[in-house]
């Protein structure tokens, strides 16, 4: 079936819905989601959205931008960071106007709290910058935006899985999609397409990401010649619940929670004397792993799954219940402990992709170091790389990224589609997608994908995880290649067409394998340590050689690497200490 729209948004999290909200004001807009919009993973974001409102203490957008740049280990494009933090303020007010119930100060103003890496006056000390709705900030944003999109009569196509993007003569013409309910293939012809498909934490074994976070947008783009930027920078959140990876928000440390090793020592005093437990995530995650490797984890066996304690027992029942209710609930539910009585066992968990589809500050997809764009193709949110997170994202800047750049992309689309040529049907646009799906469903004898998924996730976790080195990553690249060739033999076991979850999982696995390969190759070649990319064999940051963004092109079974300059027009790169 062929559908015609001005604008097609793929993905219904914060970025997709905000873009849809703006685009739908002036164009016929469809949102495609493999889920239902309110199930999107934006809803899981707990802690907050940062903006220099200055409601509880002095703050400025410039300080916020500086923190973002420094937090990103100077791989952030600095003008983009200024846009992010200046527009943050209006973005929060807009959400508030649309009915988002933020927590309030006693005077009735939007309350703000501390989060890792956010400082006053260029690093002097922590600042209260994160606006929040208890620890359900993402959930509230998602609900609010969904309501607004409905008001604007956006057409929602729920449970539609993207499999290909149609690009012809340097412009985007639409996407090819499978309807999960029926197994039917659809072509959505459009003047503008925006990918907002979120992250791909599912390439790792232990992750805070939902099952749906399989990087469908980046993978689809990569197969069509679009590079992926800075894929080697993947953030591990320091505090996942031991064994599960489910996140314990940084807000626990923001409210005063302390990390302790087996001796009860507050070990962050040694790693980050100024910001302590609220140092940026990459530093805290590495500090935890360093403790574990030194036998200072709680078990003390130096194994990679040993853990440390997050101690919130001194915060008191009132703070935990009022400000962190979900966290307390998580601990009771998943661990059978109460954080008032006992410390929470935590270890780092794969959390957020700094890299993704390269875009400019309007969300337009950029395909090379010269900044060439593809007309009508946009990306925003976690699947995109503007880049405002550089080598490491600060907490609460992800929700902000969705809102600010989702909105900017939507506004640009609304302008662009006014004069763009009507979408033209492309002959055989679904040929590639059909061949792929038909092979998976042809009923031939072949294994299901479960074993491949598991091997991929373990390989990526162990060899392309928090600490990396050449030997391990070379093995990882070979293993991923081997898994990709095994993928060619897999078959869907359930050949029914309706709600074929087996088919969906195999499509997702294909995407994850491609992204694993690009991530591993990009990481193998970056011979320095910067932000979340930490090389044991190259422990120092090397600005002379590596102050540049990676652009990785997936060409069949090969990954070709190119690089582009970083915008450092405001702040000179300096050593990153806290």
């Amino acid at each position: 079936m062929i559908h015609n729209f001005d604008t097609v948004i793929v993905g219904s999290g914060g970025a997709g819905l905000y873009a849809a909200l703006e685009a739908s004001a002036r164009s016929k807009t469809a949102v495609l989601s493999k889920l239902y919009p309110i199930r999107s993973h934006t809803g899981a974001a707990q802690g907050g959205i940062s903006a220099a409102l200055g409601n509880v203490e002095e703050d400025s957008a410039q300080w916020h931008a500086f923190d973002t740049v420094k937090g990103g280990d100077y791989l952030v494009d600095q003008q983009a960071a200024m846009i992010l933090t200046e527009e943050a303020i209006q973005a929060v007010y807009d959400l508030e106007n649309r009915g988002l119930p933020f927590n309030r100060t006693p005077e009735g103003r939007i309350d703000q709290r501390r989060f890792g890496g956010h400082t006053r006056n260029f690093g002097e000390g922590p600042v209260r910058r994160a606006c929040y709705a208890a620890d359900r900030t993402g959930h509230m944003i998602l609900q609010t935006l969904y309501q607004q999109c409905i008001k604007n009569e956006v057409s929602f196509f729920d449970e539609f899985q993207v499999v290909d993007v149609i690009i012809e003569d340097g412009s985007c013409r639409g996407v090819v999609v499978v309807e999960l309910a029926t197994g039917e293939m659809h072509i959505f012809a459009a003047k503008a397409v925006l990918f907002a498909t979120g992250g791909f934490g599912r390439i790792f074994k232990i992750t805070s990401n939902a099952y749906a976070n399989t990087g469908d947008g980046p993978a689809v783009c990569a197969r069509r010649g679009i590079p992926l930027e800075d894929m080697e920078f993947y953030q591990f959140h320091p505090t996942g619940i031991m064994g599960l990876g489910i996140l314990i928000s940084e807000a626990v440390r923001g409210e005063g929670g302390i990390l302790r090793n087996r001796d009860g020592e507050r070990f962050m005093e040694r790693y980050s004397p100024t910001l302590l437990d609220l140092a940026p995530r990459d530093i805290v995650a590495r500090s935890i792993l360093t403790e574990v490797r030194a036998g200072q984890g709680i078990r003390g066996d130096r194994r990679i799954d040993d853990y440390v304690h997050l101690d919130a027992t001194h915060l008191g029942k009132e703070v935990l219940d009022a400000k962190l209710p979900d966290i307390s609930g998580f601990c009771r539910t998943y661990l059978g402990i109460d954080p008032i009585d006992a410390p929470i066992p935590v270890l780092p968990t794969a959390h957020y992709a700094m890299g993704g589809i390269p875009t400019d500050v309007h969300g337009r997809v950029v395909i090379d170091r010269e900044g060439t764009i593809i007309d009508g193709l946009y990306a925003a949110g976690e699947c995109a790389c503007v880049s405002v997170h550089g080598a490491n994202r600060l907490g609460t800047n992800s929700l902000l990224d969705l809102i600010v750049f989702g909105r900017r992309a939507g506004q640009h689309i609304a302008e662009y589609v006014k004069d763009a040529p009507a979408p033209r049907p492309v002959a055989d646009a679904d040929e590639f997608a059909r061949a792929w799906i038909d092979r998976l469903l042809d009923g031939a004898d072949g294994p299901h994908g479960g074993a491949i998924t598991d091997e991929m996730q373990v390989t990526m976790m162990e060899k392309v995880g928090i600490y990396r080195n050449k030997a391990d990553m070379s093995v990882a690249v070979d293993q991923i290649q081997e898994l990709r060739s095994r993928y060619q033999t897999v078959r869907v076991q359930d050949t029914g067409s309706r709600f074929n979850t087996d088919l969906l999982e195999l499509i997702e696995l294909g995407n994850l394998l491609d992204l694993s390969l690009v991530t591993a190759v990009s990481a193998l070649h970056r011979e320095e340590s910067r932000g979340a990319h930490s090389r044991e064999d190259f422990p120092e940051r090397d600005d002379d050689t590596w102050l540049k963004h990676t652009l990785a092109y997936l060409e069949g079974d090969e990954v070709r690497l190119d690089y582009k300059a970083v915008d450092t027009s405001i702040w000179e790169p300096k050593p990153r200490t806290y």
């Binding site: 993973h41 809803g43 899981a44 007010y93 106007n97 309030r104 009735g108 607004q148 008001k151 609930g329």
Partner: protein
Amino acid sequence: MKTIDLTLKIWRQKNNDALGGFETYLLRDISTDMSFLEMLDVLNEQLTAEGKIPVAFDHDCREGICGSCGAMVNGIAHGPVKLNNLCQLHMRAFNSGDTLVIEPFRSRAFPIRKDLMVDRSALDRIIQAGGYVSVNTGGGVDGNAIPISSETAELAMDSAACVGCGACVASCPNDAAMLFTGAKITQLGLLPQGQPERKERARAMVTQMDKEGFGFCSNERECQAQCPKGISIRSIARMNRDFFRGSLFGE
């Protein structure tokens, strides 16, 4: 590690047009540290290995936020533990030798799509009928200048905690979606931003609720008892008040 053996009776149904029925499966050595969905994963691995079709069930975040999962376990929505989504239910809630009857969330308004998966888009259509703020309270800084007391914000937030799982509908003897609808109306109705459309919103959403085939409240309070987010039936009272005002006096 403690393990238990279980008998599962699971509703299997190919699609909404097909006839469904219970199938019985035996599971051995299930760790009590597993979540309920992990237990279903184990079953599905077993079925796949035997060349059988795995049980289809909705799930995504597995941390109680996305609202995707849900099933009746021995007749109780999301199982026997209170304030839990199904993904948060752990096998320590059961004993070895237990038989678990697992069924989809049933309602006239929730067609079955496959096995334990149901179509809950009726809930989305209720929001579409008016669950939003469309009048802007003003430009920029104004928003922050409308002071809202911490208590009001808190109450609005409690209602906004709804994840749209549908447990309230499935546990109601009348198939009512009033807790869901009431929560949405309460959240917006408590905030100054939601005032201009308050009465019309209630009227439109309640009308849509009826149209979808949901039933009416007879004060059984099952919804409140089984809501994973602990939403109170006071939100139904708020909805009724706004609805009657809306229908009697109009805008």
